[in-house]
């Protein structure tokens, strides 16, 4: 059995990579992809913690997994709306460059 | 401006225009595409699945019929005419010989006219069968095609019996027919007439009443009466738009006035109706065939005028005169008087006529074929724009263009 710490470390690495992506990529969609990566890194930690907490009984332990489940729903809604914004912006502008988008007042 | 200059000018203009980026996806449908019934090329601008613009590009089957026919004798012309609209060859043959006969004032025996009508109508059925089969094949249904082809095969058998070939008959001659009917033809044709209505019913069960088919064609590609006339649409497609024009009724030829038949007409003008027009026309044509078979008269099948038709083989052995006529006819053909004629006929696709200019020589001076498919093809534009890409396929099918007819 791999200890939880490793998962947390992996999760933090993924999270950091995602953060770099958010900071360095210019195209909005790529930024978005990186955000998804960060979200999943967090999920991984949650699932790992769920296992760590199995000593505290079924309901408590599974809360972690259930939370991830809810987060998936959240991510779905977020992506739907986020990409919706992207699409609607893109209909007027030829680029998804975030720096260029900064000028827009929505 | 010469043609060349003009072309260059247009090309330059096009080039300039291309700098402005359009939002559409431009897609080439054809010339080699399964749904374009041969070599039609359509340049389609797609706005997603919707058609924003459509331009037919034709000429991929340009055969030079008119020019070649101007360099063949009138008699040889019958081998060319049918190859234009290869699905309704007898229709073209008929239109051609009618024009030449009008030039010559040839007297066609009644029996020959009747046989021409029989074959023409059977050919119309055969053509519509191909139309129906391929049209529905274009909508993704495989099987009806095989059923219609099976029936067409039976008609082709009849044609083979009469003319010796399954397509591209060249059986009509100026002044009559090349040969009389074989004996077995009439019973065989009757047998076909008896069984065909059952087949029509089968098609109806499989398709006309099929919801998917109806939904895919109803309300698609509507062409109004005004548009139809504006674009010079003729034939069943025009009748679907509410103009009951049929030259078999309007200006009867070859004795069509003697037979009783209806011209199906509708006001709706959508693809479904265009399909149905042809579907109903099949039974009407069958009605004509049955009537002619009943009234079929005995007698000669060629104009007895030796300057027009070849003498029978038996005479060649006995009469020197016949031999001379024969030689003259074969090497040189006949010399119709100077003049220009046009005889409109109703082919399976619409108004068809040969405008012949004779300079008194043995070959036509100018042959101009008024082909229905070319004009019908133009109506694709009003029918398709604003519709879906998939509907375009239905629209092409429902116009029933034959590319040989379009490009000549």
């Amino acid at each position: 059995m791999v200890a939880t710490e490793y998962y947390v470390a992996l999760s933090s690495i993924l999270f950091a990579i995602g953060a770099v992506g958010v900071l360095t990529r210019r195209s909005a969609i790529m930024v978005f992809l990186s955000v998804e990566l960060m979200l999943n890194a967090a999920n991984l930690a949650l699932v790992a913690f769920a296992r760590q907490w199995s000593g505290a009984g079924s309901i408590t332990a599974l809360s972690g997994q259930t939370a991830v489940f809810i987060i998936l729903a959240l991510a779905a809604a977020e992506v739907a709306v986020g990409l919706g914004i992207l699409v609607s912006i893109f209909r007027y502008r030829a680029s998804t460059d975030v720096d260029a988008l900064a000028e827009i007042r929505l | 401006m010469t043609v060349k200059e003009r072309e260059t000018a247009v090309r330059v203009a096009e080039h300039a225009g291309s700098e402005f980026e359009t939002k559409y996806m431009r897609i080439n449908v054809g010339p080699q595409h399964p749904s374009t019934h041969g070599v039609l090329r359509l340049v389609v601008d797609l706005d997603g699945e919707r058609i924003a613009g459509i331009k037919p590009q034709i000429g991929y089957l340009h055969t030079g019929f008119e020019k070649t026919m101007e360099n063949r004798t009138y008699q040889q012309g019958v081998t060319y005419s049918n190859r234009m609209d290869y699905l309704h060859g007898f229709g073209h043959d008929l239109a051609y010989v009618l024009s030449v006969e009008k030039l010559l004032d040839a007297k066609v025996p009644i029996r020959a006219e009747q046989i021409r009508v029989i074959l023409n109508e059977l050919n119309r059925i055969a053509s519509h069968l191909v139309f129906f089969g391929t049209g529905i094949l274009d909508m993704g249904a495989l099987t009806l095609f095989f059923y219609t082809m099976r029936e067409r095969e039976k008609i082709l058998d009849l044609f083979e019996m009469v003319s010796g070939v399954r397509m591209n008959y060249g059986y009509f001659r100026v002044g009559g027919l090349s040969k009389d009917l074989p004996e077995e033809f009439v019973p065989a044709a009757r047998a076909f007439c008896n069984e065909f209505p059952r087949m029509l019913e089968q098609y109806a069960t499989m398709f006309v009443k099929n919801d998917i088919f109806v939904n895919r064609t109803k309300g698609i590609g509507v062409i109004s009466k005004e548009q139809a006339l504006d674009y010079g649409l003729t034939g069943p497609s025009l009748r679907a738009s509410g103009v009951p024009l049929d030259f078999r009724k309007a200006q009867p030829y070859s004795g069509y006035e003697n037979y009783d038949f209806d011209v199906p007409t509708s006001e709706v003008g959508d693809a479904f109706v265009r399909f149905m027009m042809r579907f109903e026309e099949m039974s009407e044509s069958l009605k004509i065939v049955v009537q002619v078979l009943d009234q079929l008269e005995e007698g000669p099948v060629k104009d007895p005028d030796r300057r027009i038709s070849l003498p029978p083989r038996s005479e060649l052995e006995t009469s020197m005169e016949a031999v001379i006529f024969h030689f003259k006819l074969v090497t040189e053909g006949f010399h119709p008087p100077r003049g220009e004629v046009y005889v409109p006929t109703e082919s399976a696709r619409g108004e068809l006529g040969y405008y012949l200019v004779s300079d008194g020589g043995s070959m036509p001076y100018r042959v101009k074929v008024r082909v229905p498919s070319l004009m019908n093809l133009q109506s694709l534009e009003p029918a398709c724009i604003g519709g879906l890409f998939a509907d375009m396929v239905v629209n092409i099918a429902s116009m029933d263009p034959v590319m040989g007819d379009v490009d000549k």
């Binding site: 729903a73 779905a76 809604a77 990409l83 | 996806m25 431009r26 054809g30 706005d47 997603g48």
Partner: protein, 115 residues
């Protein structure tokens, strides 16, 4: 149990890969510029294929996500249904009703109307 799954994937993947490799190795190669150009009914392609597409496709995929999540939430509900039918049914109905509002909204908006 999940090792079995892994094995299954390995075998399936192996077959796919083997076929691809075999095809690569065994077929003749006579590439030419025209041969490798995109097929467009036999004429040189006009314009690029990578064009923008209508937004309908986006909407379909978007709705799919939303309703896919909905089904995902229904699986636990359905599996547990026998344990507390009335309670779960009530909850399920509320859940469905909330989403039904969204469904009616998209119907009204004509999203499902491709015409």
């Amino acid at each position: 149990m999940y090792t079995n799954l892994l094995l299954m994937f390995l075998v399936a993947g192996f077959i796919g890969a083997a076929a691809l490799v075999a095809g690569r190795l065994l077929g003749p190669k006579k590439a030419g510029v025209t041969k490798l150009a995109a097929y467009e009914s036999g004429v040189p392609a006009s314009g690029s294929a990578r064009e923008r597409f209508p937004v309908h496709f986006y909407l379909v995929a978007m709705l799919f996500i939303i309703f896919d999540i909905e089904t995902a939430f229904f699986y636990p509900l359905a599996v547990k249904f026998k344990a507390a039918p009335a309670f779960l049914y009530a909850n399920g109905i509320i859940f469905v009703l909330v989403l039904a509002i969204g469904y009616v909204y998209i119907l009204k908006k004509g999203v499902l109307n491709w015409k």
